[in-house]
């Protein structure tokens, strides 16, 4: 049995074709250079002879106690703590779980630590540091808490904390496997986190209750696509089920355990969710047909669909606008959910940038990431020639923008 999915098999085949290993012509030159290079004497590697613990313990024991440094550090910690408390107090008013909110901090990870940056001032702060490899931070919808993943040497385990990194709580790992760090989605009630993961090419939906700490695999026939929690209570989510070529949009209820299929206007090819309106009365999905993607918005009460000429649409926080790819000219465009014309906000592009996009909490900006990892902030009002320069505060990345009260 092959443990890889078709895409993985394609990659493996391509790597083997592209690599075509052969003895390089610089072999003799390389050996001449190494022969002319002196080896480091064996005694210069103390860890070769002693366990590292013994070395570090010995070093610690030999050092004089730096009382002055300790005093200064203690003073610094006290000042930082006081500053952090004042800072946290100034931001203690949580954002509404649904709809637009004010823009808060942006979180990101570097080297196994998690930081925040204030886009307004550019101020950066480490909030979760230390030995564990922590990554993939994601603020809750009210901005009060932070979900992240912690590498423990075997698995990435889910952890939840206050938005300043305090009160960390490791969540359950029941059934957990390889996690997609970009798939983390908080429910609107602020209780449950959904994340995608799996192995052997089969993705599953993991759910973690941040209150009880328990985690479990959702018993649903998940196929693909992002998870969108249904407002206003967040006790159900939208996902794509079915088989490749016959997709169905569905909603899974945590309370009843039932899966209900949503109306997709007869469309069954490459159907993926795009989001809900803030009041939960409308849902949006996108699909791919004849090499072009379009988005539909459906009113649940009437069942009436409205087609939008925009591909891979993503609803704004207030549910009024959709950003997506212009299927005709390429590039990003923005269209009202009831509109018929998608207004371009970028020039056409053909090399992949702009594929990921999401709305800022206040809906005044669209964050988009180039495939090479460079991020931009775009104005949803355009113009198409707007600057595609990465702001300095995004230099280290930033996938989660905190929502705070207006």
């Amino acid at each position: 049995m092959n443990r890889y999915d078709p895409f993985e098999r394609d990659i493996t085949m391509w790597l083997n074709d592209a690599a075509s290993p052969r003895m390089p012509d610089f072999r003799d030159d390389l050996l001449q250079r190494t022969a002319a290079t002196s080896q480091r004497p064996r005694w210069s590697f103390p860890e070769r002879w002693l366990p590292m613990t013994a070395i570090t313990a010995g070093r610690r024991a030999m050092r004089p106690v730096p009382w002055r440094t300790i005093g200064l550090l203690a003073l610094l910690v006290a000042l930082l703590t006081a500053g952090a408390l004042i800072y946290a107090g100034s931001r203690s008013n949580p954002a509404p779980m649904l709809g637009p909110a004010a823009n808060g901090l942006v979180s990101y990870d570097i080297g196994g630590d998690i930081y925040t940056v204030d886009p307004a001032s550019g101020t950066r702060r480490p909030i979760i540091t230390g030995e564990p490899q922590d990554h993939a931070p994601q603020f809750s919808l009210d901005g009060a808490r932070l979900f992240f993943l912690r590498g423990d040497g075997k698995l990435d385990v889910p952890v939840v904390a206050d938005s300043d990194g305090r009160n960390q709580k490791v969540l359950g790992t029941e059934g957990l496997a390889l996690i997609d760090p970009g798939s983390v989605v908080w429910s609107p009630d602020g209780r449950t986190v959904a994340l995608l993961g799996g192995s052997d090419g089969a993705m599953r939906v993991y759910l973690a209750d941040t209150i009880t700490g328990t985690a479990w695999v959702a018993p649903i026939p998940y196929l693909d696509g992002k998870i969108y929690w249904r407002p206003p209570d967040g006790r159900a989510f939208m996902f794509t089920k079915g088989t490749a070529g016959h997709d169905e949009l569905a909603v899974y209820s945590l309370d009843t355990g039932r899966v209900e299929v949503l109306d997709t206007n007869g469309i069954t090819t490459n159907v993926r969710g795009s989001g809900w309106s803030a009041d939960g009365t409308r849902y949006a999905f996108h699909y791919l047909i004849n090499n072009a993607s379009f988005t539909e918005v459906v009113d649940i009460a009437t069942g009436t669909p409205h087609s939008l000429p925009v591909g891979y649409g993503e609803l704004s926080n207030d549910g009024r606008l959709v950003v997506g790819m212009d299927p005709g000219r390429g590039g990003l465009c923005v269209i009202p959910v009831d509109g018929s014309t998608c207004t371009a906000i970028t020039e056409p592009f053909g090399d992949g940038w702009g594929w990921y996009y999401r709305w800022s909490p206040d809906d005044t900006s669209i964050l988009t990431s180039r495939i090479d990892g460079v991020d931009f902030v775009l104005d949803p009002d355009g113009p198409t020639t707007q600057t595609q320069t990465q702001p300095s505060w995004m230099a280290d990345g930033g996938n989660s923008w905190q929502r705070v009260a207006r």
Partner: protein, 186 residues
């Protein structure tokens, strides 16, 4: 003589033993470097740097059985260093035209390989490295983690993210070229 014996002798200054180790690994590591840096000259420099460092520091290798993982780590680090140094120089743009997709029985395969090549260039070198170690070298997660000196869970999630980005890069390229054939774009 087995590899462990060669490593022990090379660590004591036996250059002939080191040459045997080079002969047994050079072709594979040069291919690994080419896949990661996507530039033959840069790969050549990186591999030479890795082997020179290996020879210099071999006396410090405590466990000869970990030679392979150690050598892969040196190579990956040399590749990433080489890419970082190149970024400080003006970027060279590949102006070779992109072939339109060929229509026919083999069009899917040919287009796929072109798309994979372009997609692979677009993801970050660190992501290329982890994909190469797992899918080309065939390392399990535990070995990838040891080679990159990161926890196994982190290796898993980074590989997953790298593959997601590669899928997205390929899908974006397909969409831009109007050649999407029913992908899995989310």
């Amino acid at each position: 003589m087995d590899q462990q014996g060669l490593v022990e002798r090379a660590g004591k200054g036996d250059h002939d033993a080191f040459a045997s180790l080079v002969d047994a690994s050079l072709a594979r590591l040069e291919a690994v470097a080419r896949l990661i840096v996507r530039d033959p000259e840069l790969a050549r420099d990186a591999v030479q740097d890795a082997y020179i460092r290996a020879w210099r520091d071999l006396p410090g290798l405590r466990d000869p059985q970990r030679f392979d993982a150690w050598l892969h780590r040196l190579t990956v680090n040399a590749c990433l260093d080489a890419v970082r140094k190149r970024r400080r120089r003006p970027i060279e743009v590949d102006l070779s035209p992109i072939s339109p997709p060929v229509i026919g029985d083999e069009s899917g395969l040919i287009a796929d390989r072109d798309l994979i090549e372009r997609g692979f260039r677009r993801i970050r070198p660190e992501q290329r490295a982890i994909i190469v170690l797992h899918y080309y070298v065939g390392m399990p997660f535990s070995a990838v983690a040891e080679t990159l000196d990161i926890p196994q869970g982190t290796a898993q999630s980074r590989l997953h993210r790298a593959m997601s980005d590669l899928r997205a890069a390929i899908a974006a390229d397909e969409a831009a070229a109007g050649t999407v054939r029913g992908g899995v774009i989310a």
